[in-house]
Subunit: 325 residues, 2 copies
């Protein structure tokens, strides 16, 4: 098996690619070969820095590099000698069995689509992404390749996600959840209400129904389907929130000059009950909604929010602002 790896994709290119390829070859059985695709002299210079280069590492010359400034749709035409176009062409022509790139996402997607073509029956090929959960990894589809999806696209995402979960994640009968804003079938926007009906009737899909934002980390699904707009926002938010929370912990450890940890402090910073309820805006009065699980502290804070809103003249200011746009 031969994998074509874009050597010019990462911010650290080609260092991260060369080092990653060498690590991968050391850890895999002998039938895997990796072809680094990029400027040959640059890539070879990087390889030469390593003492032990395993068998099965090759280089294919591709002098050009795609940048974030390139329009994704024009890469094939404008940069035919780029590592992305050359690597995908190798895969298309059977010289490689797969292509991996850390280049600009839009360019890799568009060029993959043009070069490898969608399978019959696939209208809008989606991107998958792995989400860590309390149980196991879960596949999010679509993670950002398509916005403005139709209900039948979400059914295709469910089918493709199920195959991936079986083949790459070894889940026997992958459970598919539809990302939505309520559990009941009638909840959601036009897209998810109709997609729920289609998914319920689709053969070969183990559809477990709607799942809400708070269900994701529970890990009761193998595959979560959604439009690429919400999928992309969710994925990027999740990736950033881990770093944010670890930073919170680090700051606290340093402030305490210890390696003991007051978990309650961190939890408090992130606890919705600290911030009072959700104000309804744009009404002729002040109405604050709290969680049903609110403890006394959350009620106290919601009352403080109400007091602030009344004292500041929120309703009058809102009326004035909307009148004079």
């Amino acid at each position: 098996m031969r994998i074509a790896l874009d050597a010019m994709g990462t911010d650290l290119a080609p260092l991260a690619e060369v080092a990653g390829a060498i690590q991968a070859l050391k850890g895999s059985p002998g039938d895997v070969e990796i072809v680094l695709v990029g400027d040959e002299s640059v890539v070879r210079a990087e390889i030469d820095k390593f003492d032990h280069v395993p068998e099965g590492l090759h280089v294919r010359h591709a002098p050009d590099r795609v940048t974030a400034e390139d329009s994704p749709a024009s890469v094939i035409r404008r940069k035919p000698q780029s590592s992305i176009v050359v690597g995908l062409r190798m895969h298309k022509d059977g010289e490689a069995d797969a292509f991996v790139s850390a280049g600009p996402t839009g360019a890799v997607m568009a060029t993959s689509l043009f070069t490898l073509r969608p399978l019959p029956g696939v209208d809008r090929p989606p991107a998958g992404a792995m989400l860590p959960t309390a149980k196991d990894l879960c596949l999010l589809v679509d993670a950002g390749a398509n916005v403005g999806c139709k209900p039948h696209h979400l059914v295709q995402f469910a089918q493709l996600g199920s195959v991936y979960a079986r083949d790459a994640l070894a889940r026997e009968e992958p459970r598919v959840g539809l990302l939505n804003i309520g559990e009941e079938p009638g909840k959601g926007d036009d897209l998810t209400i109709e997609a729920h009906a289609l998914l319920s009737a689709a053969p070969g899909i183990n559809f477990i129904g709607n799942i809400e934002g708070r269900d994701i980390v529970r890990g009761d699904c193998d595959v979560i389907v959604c439009d690429g707009f919400v999928g992309n926002i969710l994925l990027k938010f999740y990736e950033s929130v881990a770093g944010y929370i670890v930073d919170l912990l680090r700051t606290q450890l340093e402030a305490d000059r210890s390696d003991r940890l007051d978990l309650e402090h961190v939890f408090r910073v992130l606890d919705y009950a600290e911030y009072g309820g959700a104000p309804l805006l744009g009404l002729g009065g002040v109405s604050i909604i709290c969680h049903g699980e609110s403890p006394p502290k959350a009620i106290r804070n919601a009352l403080a929010v109400a007091v602030r809103a009344v004292r500041s003249g929120l309703v009058r200011h809102s009326a004035e602002d909307l009148q004079t746009p």
Copy 2:
């Protein structure tokens, strides 16, 4: 100032409400009064459990209680003696200056809308929610009241959110960001592309442009506007992820039988680089996309994902599954 507080909203009602109201009165200046709205005998029995009840705590009898089973739109007609309807009517009639409830969200929203009415110029009153960030709290609008918004609704959300940020959060010139899947003005779905243009031209809004999912926790905005569908999913996800991460930490502390903490372990569980790249699905080949910031480890793992996909016959299985739906 008098706040009407639904005493029958929380899962712990009326305990959480009574305790929260007493805490709030103890912490606020003498001009605040709180009216607990609910079954008078039940509420008074709860109040009697407290040794020191501050001045300014009142009870208004409302024998009925709204449950999650009630259709939100029919609450006013079917349960006119419920704590939600009675409390909002008090506010409408000037007997209270605000209303706070932890009752079923849909019922509180619908009854607030019918009773308090939207301000002139407001088509779809949104819900706000506070998000903790690395800098300061940030207001998310809409957090779930409206799905299927039009671009001009998002402009109204920006106006209402700006007023709230000024009045309740003391931000002088609130920075408004549009939640989207790319930074550039042309990025997004139909809604956000058009909303970006409207927000850029709207007077009185300090619009700082698109913000992506990964920007939220940075805290560079005072107000984030979005459709209620994505807002609701994001909010519920954020609320749950804090608990998940604290659980990860607790589990690790217990496993180590220490109160020392290996932050790297936690970070690793949540680190996208551990899970390889994002596979494009439904194509006539295997194409894996990695982050531009990928370190060698992420490239190694993406190569492992590619190897698994090739070895398992992912493309063939996908083609078969899509052919025989």
